[in-house]
């Protein structure tokens, strides 16, 4: 199966006066339809930066090199207007902080309509119906009320679900989720992960899932790429990496996570399990 997005030797540098500071160094990854690539790394490891570079969200202060083929089309160096049409259309993006992704002065319905009007030719009634359908799809109770609410009247988890619904609305070929569950409490976190799992199981889209939390990635990722200090230190199938990572940093992360999990598991099972 061919890859939906194939990134090769992506290098991002920051122009600092005359000097160039390297932020991401020769990173390559690919994701196919129905698959999920998890990118793991601590803050500052360049994981979000790589995705922003691919999406063309970086300004002139950054120098981007390499290649990023989306459905056979080169994204790097593409005209910003073309990229803008792609984002939200063929490529859906879900960002970390749902509170800051919405304009606090507009109702949810208006903001959803804005996206739909931009990318589709639906009539006003059509847009409204589509919005309601999306909210229902995301299992939001009383969608009519939600459309009339302002962002501050909804919880973070609800807003994030609206975001995911919007990202899904145009049947994108690729969804990039940048830490979508950070800063949300664990029950909403879990239900949002369920939404992503449903998307993945539907098999229509490719998912790139960025997180610093191994627990979240272990739930959804088929392939994992571990980033540390701007380079990909390890990549491969999730099961293999979780079981036998080659890289020292990756092993350290996994050991830490397993230490936490083994206490939890032994607590709920009343017997020690999972060697740390």
């Amino acid at each position: 199966m061919t890859a939906v997005l194939e990134v090769r030797d992506l290098t991002v540098r920051f122009r600092n006066g005359k000097r160039l500071t390297s932020l991401v160094e020769r990173v390559s990854f690919a994701v196919r339809r129905g698959g999920c690539l998890g990118i793991l790394g601590e803050s500052g490891s360049g994981k979000s930066m790589s995705c922003k570079a691919v999406l063309g969200l970086l300004d002139d202060n950054f120098q981007v090199e390499g290649s990023a083929l989306f459905e056979g089309r080169q994204l790097l160096g593409e005209h910003p207007e073309v990229l803008r049409r792609l984002r939200g259309g063929r490529i859906g993006v879900v960002l970390q902080n749902p509170m800051s992704c919405f304009d606090p002065l507009y109702r949810i319905g208006e903001q959803m309509a804005e996206t739909l009007a931009e990318h589709t030719r639906l009539s006003r009634n059509g847009i409204r119906e589509k919005s309601l359908e999306l909210l229902e799809l995301m299992r939001i109770r009383s969608p009519e009320d939600v459309l009339r609410k302002y962002p501050h009247q909804l919880s973070g988890g609800m807003l994030q679900r609206v975001m995911i619904g919007l990202a899904l609305s145009l049947r994108p070929a690729l969804i990039i989720a940048d830490e979508p569950t950070t800063a949300i409490d664990s029950i909403s976190q879990y239900s949002i992960m369920q939404e992503f799992l449903r998307i993945k199981q539907a098999g229509e889209t490719a998912l790139i899932f960025i997180s610093h939390d191994l627990g979240v990635l272990s739930l959804i990722a088929d392939e994992v790429m571990v980033m540390h200090g701007g380079t990909a230190v390890e990549s491969g199938p999730a099961a293999r990496i979780f079981a036998e990572a080659q890289d020292g940093y990756t092993r350290h992360l996994i050991r830490q996570h397993k230490a936490v999990m083994s206490r939890f598991l032994s607590a709920i099972h009343q017997r020690p399990e999972v060697a740390a």
């Binding site: 601590e42 803050s43 500052g44 919880s155 973070g156 800063a183 409490d185 664990s186 029950i187 909403s188 976190q189 879990y190 239900s191 992960m193 369920q194 610093h212 939390d213 191994l214 627990g215 979240v216 272990s218 739930l219 979780f242 350290h252 992360l253 996994i254 830490q256 996570h257 397993k258 230490a259 936490v260 999990m261 083994s262 206490r263 939890f264 598991l265 032994s266 607590a267 709920i268 099972h269 009343q270 399990e273 999972v274």
Partner: protein, 290 residues
């Protein structure tokens, strides 16, 4: 064992934000009678989702918000009773707080030495003797695993985990008996979270501290705490005194929290049957989750 902190039947309500009528006095009940006991040297976890009132409880215990009814005793003294100024200060110093948002809890125009130095100054005033601040700051930084050279840095020159360590150093500088950790690790990276929790455990052993650990993450509670209270809409809905009995919890809300844990080893869906019976016993929850 003797209890360091006892709270009895605490009730708090706030005036509602959007009143039905002009000058309405409708109140929202935030805490509906919470009681808890913290023994010497133990770590008590309080878990609940956002909006369940757990941070309000933290503020009551820290002496920042007088409850409408109920009492808080620290070391046998009533926190909201009448005391001389000196006793009151001593009482307040026996409990320190570490908050979630490290950037807003450190003054951006203070250097690290002044952030920690503020605590030391308070201590000087209380004990009426001078403290060699420079040496003490270096000691405290060393205890939280930071090089002493960081003393001259500003908050923005530190990473999140490092700044949170500075906040911990500041909290233990006043020699407290109890440290209240209000989501203290939640906004850190998963790997840094573990490092900070390890550090806190080490400090507990060294200083004989007791912790109240407020969080929404059950895995960090099992990693870190001796006992746990499940908190929902202003009430303690379940209490687990022995972490090994965690699987026996009955309250539906607490179970939901238990089911929301993601991680290696907790496989959801297919491999779930492999798990011990408690999770499989509830077919309704499994149906809703998949």
């Amino acid at each position: 064992m003797n209890p360091v902190l006892v709270a009895g039947d605490i009730k708090v309500s706030f005036l509602k934000e959007n009143q039905k009528r002009l000058f309405g006095r409708e109140r929202q009940q935030v805490l509906r009678g919470v009681s808890l006991t913290l023994e010497e040297g133990e770590c008590l976890g309080i878990i609940g989702e956002s909006g369940s009132g757990k941070s309000t409880l933290g503020r009551v215990l820290a002496g920042l918000l007088p409850p409408e009814s109920g009492v808080v005793y620290i070391n046998g003294k009533n926190l909201y009773g009448r005391h001389s100024a000196h006793d009151m200060a001593a009482l307040h110093h026996s409990l320190s707080v570490v908050f979630q948002d490290y950037t807003s809890s450190a003054n951006p125009r203070f250097r690290v030495e002044h952030i920690i130095g503020e605590s030391l100054r308070a201590l000087e005033r209380l004990e009426g003797r001078a403290v060699d601040r420079k040496r003490r700051v270096a000691e405290l930084l060393e205890q939280v695993g930071l090089p002493a050279s960081y003393a001259s840095r500003y908050p923005h020159e530190l990473s999140g985990g490092q700044l949170q360590r500075v906040c911990i150093a500041r909290a233990i500088a006043v020699n407290p008996r109890v440290v209240l950790l209000d989501e203290a690790v939640s906004s850190l990276d998963a790997s840094t979270q573990v490092q900070v929790m390890d550090l806190l455990m080490e400090l507990r052993a060294r200083h004989g501290l007791s912790y109240i650990f407020i969080t929404h993450d059950l895995t960090s509670i099992t990693y870190f705490c001796d006992r746990v209270l499940f908190f929902n809409s202003g009430r303690v809905v379940e209490q687990v005194d022995d972490m090994r009995l965690l699987s026996a919890i009955r309250d539906p809300y607490a179970r939901q929290l238990l089911d929301a844990v993601m991680g290696i080893g907790v496989e959801h869906g297919s491999a779930r049957q492999r798990l011990a019976s408690p999770l499989v016993r509830r077919p309704d929850a499994l149906g809703a989750a998949s």
